[in-house]
């Protein structure tokens, strides 16, 4: 069986299956939902950073845009949620298109500019001058479409699609092209890869993933303020989870989410006052001692990480 399908069976099926079954065993469904959301975000970061080498420090911009795209369709046009989800994803992709010039920038500049872009979108959305459209600082309250079970199911479907996408990237020429661009864009260009086109596609895929995640998050949470869906914690966590697990693999970000987000929630319930301190130290230790993630550790021991 080709590697792609082997990986798909070995990873995608168990993960999605497990997340589908867990709500029957564990009552805090919102927690499980958040796990799914972070898996999506970590994989999204994986696509644009792990494979393509651009660190999206403002990744939450797409997440929030998706959330607002979804919500505004529901609030203003009374769209059914599934259709509004498509709109949310489209909104994020549009923002991605708008921001493609940023891809010309190198390394740190790109990250800072991306962060500035996300903050700029937050400013626009929460401004009272636009409140007739975006409801400004009052936040969104979606009435009448609250269906947590359906939303969770849809989130799982999006997760399956995302994981399949990453599996594809891991096992295809396109994915290899992206990694080549990450390592050395000039050589990649000379080897015949259409650098600009490939990275824009990766960028838009990454935006779409975050947009859909944001839309389904808005659907599940249904009452939120702009700061909630544009909070920088989403970007930071997604990046750290992807990094910890191991960029450019399928399993890496999933491991990162399960382990680190699991620790986060456990600390939260046991020793909250040192929360920020423990997490900050963890991030620092991670970068200093395991900069290529857990996957690199496993690879060093001879295990091939999908």
């Amino acid at each position: 069986m080709p590697r792609l399908w082997r990986h798909a069976l070995a990873i995608v099926v168990p993960v999605v299956g497990a997340m589908a079954v867990l709500p029957a065993l564990y009552g805090n469904h919102l927690l499980l939902f958040n796990f799914v959301v972070f898996m999506l975000l970590a994989q999204g970061v994986n696509v644009i950073y792990g494979f393509t080498g651009y660190l999206p420090f403002g990744y939450v911009g797409f997440f929030g845009t998706g959330a607002y795209g979804f919500s505004l369709m529901v609030v203003h046009l009374a769209t059914p949620p599934l259709l509004a989800l498509v709109a949310g994803g489209a909104a994020a992709v549009l923002l991605g298109l708008l921001l493609t010039p940023l891809l010309r920038l190198s390394g740190a500049y790109f990250s800072i500019a991306n962060l500035a872009a996300a903050l700029a979108v937050l400013q626009v959305v929460s401004n009272p001058d636009l409140q007739d459209i975006t409801k400004g600082p009052y936040g969104i309250a979606l009435n009448g479409i609250y269906q947590p079970t359906l939303a969770y199911g849809v989130a799982l479907a999006i997760l399956a699609a995302t994981l399949m996408t990453v599996v594809y990237l891991r096992n295809s020429r396109f994915g290899m092209a992206l990694q080549a661009i990450r390592e050395d864009p000039i050589s990649a260009g000379m080897a015949g890869i259409n650098v600009v086109r490939e990275r824009v596609i990766a960028w838009l895929i990454s935006a779409l993933i975050a947009g859909l995640a944001g839309s389904v998050f808005a659907w599940y949470v249904s009452v939120f303020y702009p700061e909630t869906v544009f909070g920088s914690e989403f970007s930071i966590f997604a990046i750290v989870f992807a990094l910890f697990g191991g960029p450019a693999t399928v399993l890496g970000p999933l491991l990162g989410v399960i382990i680190l987000y699991g620790i986060y929630n456990t600390i939260g319930i046991t020793t909250p006052q040192y929360f920020q301190l423990i997490y900050g130290l963890l991030i620092m230790v991670l970068v200093l001692f395991l900069p290529n993630g857990l996957a690199s550790l496993l690879r060093r021991w001879g295990i091939d990480v999908p």
């Binding site: 805090n28 600082p137 936040g139 309250a141 947590p148 939120f224 303020y225 909070g231 319930i269 909250p272």
Partner: protein, 417 residues
């Protein structure tokens, strides 16, 4: 006769069994679930509320617990509290945790609208009554959702009424015609600004709003804004923001040498100690603000009054890290309302509790004033009157209530010298 005996015995045994069953059903503790923020932007308003609630719980347990009418006995309270670090997404999962894993009997929110918002749909979905401590977002209270009740702050659409009424009723006589309105663009203060604007324009008392601007909540420098306001020559300046905004505004006012005839800010009333430490007594003199329940000795028909509560607070919380003020009273008030509700509710069923709380409306007088909620659960009582700050002989801040006249303790000094 033998039949009567049998019937009598039968009845007696049934009654005994029922009594025994009821006593066996009574839980050994009532679980109160809540969240607090120990760090992040909302910690300043969250910790005092949490400390107030904790104090109430300890006191209640010291007396053997709260009297629960449903089981006709006193049951101790267990407070289960998690830290959400001012992060709404974390708060959401923790609220869900409290409901589904800890299976709390009563769900209480964290402080402020941003951290209350995530709980509203979760509580509604699980059919749990949400005890909203200080979250005044108008979005939360809708006619089709009975699972919410606001404990302490009056809802922001009516909170500024005493201020607006002072300007429209007393203002013209004092010479107030031009008003400048500066507000921070977040739910809480923008709603208050809208309310002020509405009350002033509807009153048709000849008051003009000559400056009306919103600024981002993160604004920390008001020097240019103050200059622009001054250019419009206002008779009264209303600045609606969070404590950081008020501190920056009042300090910049002092430092720039500008003097306005009347200045109103919210947080000199709600977090007086913090403001006094940062702005100083001189900078707060003559400033108008809301008079919080932590400054008015309301007649409390239930629970401790202000003096007793402050003494208990000072005794319990000696490290001075959490400030005593309006928010600390709010946390204690939550406990009081719940205690009273449990003593009149027929069962621990969530809607029964809601009805019990609604029945207290207008009748419960605590150190926070008169508790009153409307049919959507929004607080319409516990209104804070308008006051002006003055320096007492020790150069500390004290409040002079100036409006409404029936509760006034002094006259407004206008214009500020």
């Amino acid at each position: 006769m033998f039949q009567k005996l049998v019937c009598g015995l039968g009845l007696a045994s049934i009654v005994a069994l029922c009594g025994a069953a009821q006593a066996a059903e009574a839980p050994k503790e009532i679980k109160f679930g809540t969240l607090y923020a120990s760090a992040g932007p909302f910690a300043v308003i969250s910790m005092p509320v949490h400390y107030g609630l904790k104090l109430w719980a300890e006191q209640a347990n010291a007396e053997g617990g709260v009297f629960v009418k449903a089981f006709n006995k006193k049951i101790p309270v267990k407070l289960v509290a998690y830290d959400d670090q001012s992060n709404p997404a974390t708060a959401a999962t923790l609220y869900d945790q409290l409901i589904t894993q800890d299976k709390v009997d009563i769900l209480i929110t964290d402080s402020g609208s941003v951290l209350t918002a995530p709980a509203v749909p979760i509580a509604r979905n699980h059919k749990m009554l949400l005890i909203d401590q200080t979250g005044t977002g108008a979005n939360f209270f809708t006619a089709d959702n009975p699972y919410i009740a606001l404990m302490s702050d009056p809802v922001s659409t009516i909170w500024p009424k005493p201020l607006a009424d002072f300007i429209t009723h007393d203002g013209p006589a004092l010479g107030i015609k031009r008003v400048a309105l500066l507000y921070s663009t977040n739910d809480f203060t923008t709603t208050q600004a809208n309310a002020v604007r509405k009350f002033i324009t509807e009153a048709k008392a000849g008051i003009d709003i000559v400056y009306d601007q919103g600024v981002e909540t993160k604004t920390s420098n008001y020097t240019v804004l103050i200059n622009n306001i001054r250019a419009t020559n206002p008779d009264a300046v209303i600045e609606l923001g969070y404590d950081g905004n008020d501190i920056a505004f009042l300090r910049n006012l002092q430092d720039s040498g500008t003097k306005f005839k009347m200045v109103f800010c919210i947080y000199p009333g709600l977090e007086t100690n913090v403001l006094e430490k940062n702005v100083g007594g001189e900078g707060l003199q003559y400033v108008y603000t809301y008079v919080p329940s932590s400054e008015i000795a309301y007649q409390a028909s239930f629970g401790m009054n202000l003096a007793q509560y402050k003494a208990a607070w000072d005794k319990k919380y000696t490290d001075g890290k959490v400030e005593f003020g309006f928010n600390s009273v709010a946390g204690y008030t939550t406990g009081l309302v719940l205690e009273k509700a449990l003593s009149v509710a027929d069962s621990l069923d969530q809607l029964a509790l809601r009805n019990a709380i609604a029945s207290l409306s207008g009748n419960l007088r605590t150190l926070d004033g008169t508790f009153a909620i409307d049919e959507m659960g929004a607080q319409i009582g516990e209104i804070t009157p308008l006051g002006q700050l003055a320096l007492d002989k020790d150069k500390h801040i004290k409040f002079v209530t100036v409006y409404p006249h029936d509760v006034a303790t002094g006259k407004a000094i206008y214009p500020a010298p």
